[in-house]
């Protein structure tokens, strides 16, 4: 959807149009869900957080100033903050899940799944595990979500130059880790 169309929808949402908000949901739901799932493995939690993001977006739309608005970066910022709030909550109150009696507990060094993946994928996976979070974030926003430098800068609350530098360092670090594996 084009920027103008999105801005028009936002104007309607500000007036209280739920149908317009539904269209915005259809536009952004997939992307935001993938963004959340990149950080949170639990699918149920990811769905809950997706719902929370859009409810917050509805509440925030009323007070939104449309002048110089980038709705994409704005809604990604909400998702970014919502995920951070979730991690903070989990850190403070760790949740335990009761064990089912017939649950198969997979051993740490179970190689059955690993054989299905290619060597490259495994290497990427291990390299990402070693990459710092701030680099992972910028790679995710820039390459997976395909956001612009300016949009990424707004979400991460940095300036464009910092984002470019961060991205450059992230790729370099990933390459370095990858080659050492």
């Amino acid at each position: 959807m084009e920027e103008n169309s999105i801005n028009n929808l936002v104007a309607l949402v500000k007036a209280g149009d739920e149908q317009a908000f539904g269209l915005l949901y259809d536009e952004y739901a997939d992307r935001l869900y993938r963004y959340i799932c990149f950080k949170i493995t639990d699918r149920q939690e990811a769905e809950n957080l997706l719902q929370e993001v859009f409810v917050k977006a509805w509440q925030g739309c009323r007070k939104l100033e449309q002048e110089n608005l980038n709705f994409t970066s704005w809604i990604y910022t909400i998702a970014h903050n919502t995920v951070n709030d979730y991690f903070r909550k989990v850190y403070r109150r760790p949740q335990t899940v009761p064990l089912e009696p017939n649950l198969d507990i997979v051993a740490k060094d179970d190689t059955s799944e690993d054989t299905q993946k290619s060597f490259t994928e495994l290497s990427i996976e291990k390299a990402l595990a070693k990459l710092p979070d701030k680099y992972k974030q910028v790679l995710e926003l820039r390459f997976l979500q395909e956001l612009s430098v300016e949009e990424t800068a707004k979400i991460l609350q940095k300036n464009s130059i910092s984002v470019r530098v961060l991205q450059h360092r992230a790729v370099k670090q990933l390459q370095k880790i990858f080659t050492t594996l």
Binding site: L50, E121, L128
Partner: protein, 257 residues
């Protein structure tokens, strides 16, 4: 591996790891979001925010009980208060309310007499408490000395004098006296009303009571003391005896002659 290839591998890996949002899940979440929106639009429909009426009534009842206890305590404490005390106005208000609420004219009269009597008791309590300064009496005695008697240093004195017991002006006592006047005034009004309504006997009884109260008021205003005439026994007796003797001598002389 160069950077471009690495980024490409990274993208393909990540997309494979992150499951897409299925249509069913997408619709389910959309419905949940829209339901939340409806609730957001009508916040007053949120039952949790509406006041619990039980809680409100309980609060009102507790406040009413506390107020009642406070009033009762204050009223009880005001019973022994005197003019000038903090709770005295409350005492007077309670008494006035009692009188106003009494419909029966005879019962009303009895109440007013009872409260007027209380005003006198209050004044007496105040007078008993306050220190009285007695002005030094100014006495000048005058004794007329007779010619035959040897000269004596004369002292002048008046046979009757008014010795006034003066008290300093006490605002509380003055206030109490004004309250008494007010009580008597009310009784006079009540007497007139009793006469108009045909309660002659009660009106006459009340009249006697008013007179008694007025007399007591006068008694409080001024006290008169008449001192006794002092005797000067030695001098006067001597002079009179002498006079008698002189006369007796004269008479006896005449007889002899």
């Amino acid at each position: 591996m160069n950077q471009e290839e690495l980024i490409r591998q990274f993208k393909s890996y990540s997309r494979r790891q992150m499951p897409p949002l299925s249509l069913s899940v997408k619709e389910k979440v959309k419905q949940q979001v829209l339901n939340n929106l409806s609730r957001e639009q009508y916040p007053e429909a949120d039952i949790q925010r509406s006041p619990s009426w039980t809680f409100v009534f309980t609060r009102i009842a507790v406040m009413a009980v506390c107020l009642l206890i406070l009033l009762t305590g204050s009223t009880y404490a005001s019973f022994d208060s005197l003019p000038g005390d903090t709770l005295y106005p409350l005492k007077r208000t309670v008494e006035d309310t009692q009188v106003k609420l009494t419909q029966n004219p005879v019962a009303k009269t009895k109440l007013q007499v009872k409260f007027a009597e209380k005003r006198f008791q209050e004044l007496e309590s105040l007078e008993a408490k306050s220190p009285k300064k007695i002005a030094a009496p100014v006495i000048t005695k005058k004794v007329e000395v007779k010619i035959d008697t040897p000269k004596i240093d004369s002292l002048t004195a008046s046979p009757t004098e008014t010795e006034k017991l003066e008290t300093e002006d006490n605002p509380k006592e003055n206030f109490a006296k004004r309250e008494i006047s007010r009580a008597i005034y009310n009784l006079e009004n009540t007497r007139t009303k009793l006469e108009k309504d045909g309660h002659t006997e009660e009106a006459n009884n009340l009249n006697a009571t008013i007179k008694e109260f007025t007399r007591r008021v006068d008694k409080h205003r001024e006290r008169k003391i008449v001192p006794k005439e002092k005797e000067i026994p030695s001098l006067e007796i001597k002079s009179s005896n002498r006079q008698k003797e002189t006369k007796h001598e004269e008479n006896s002389k005449r007889h002899r002659q």
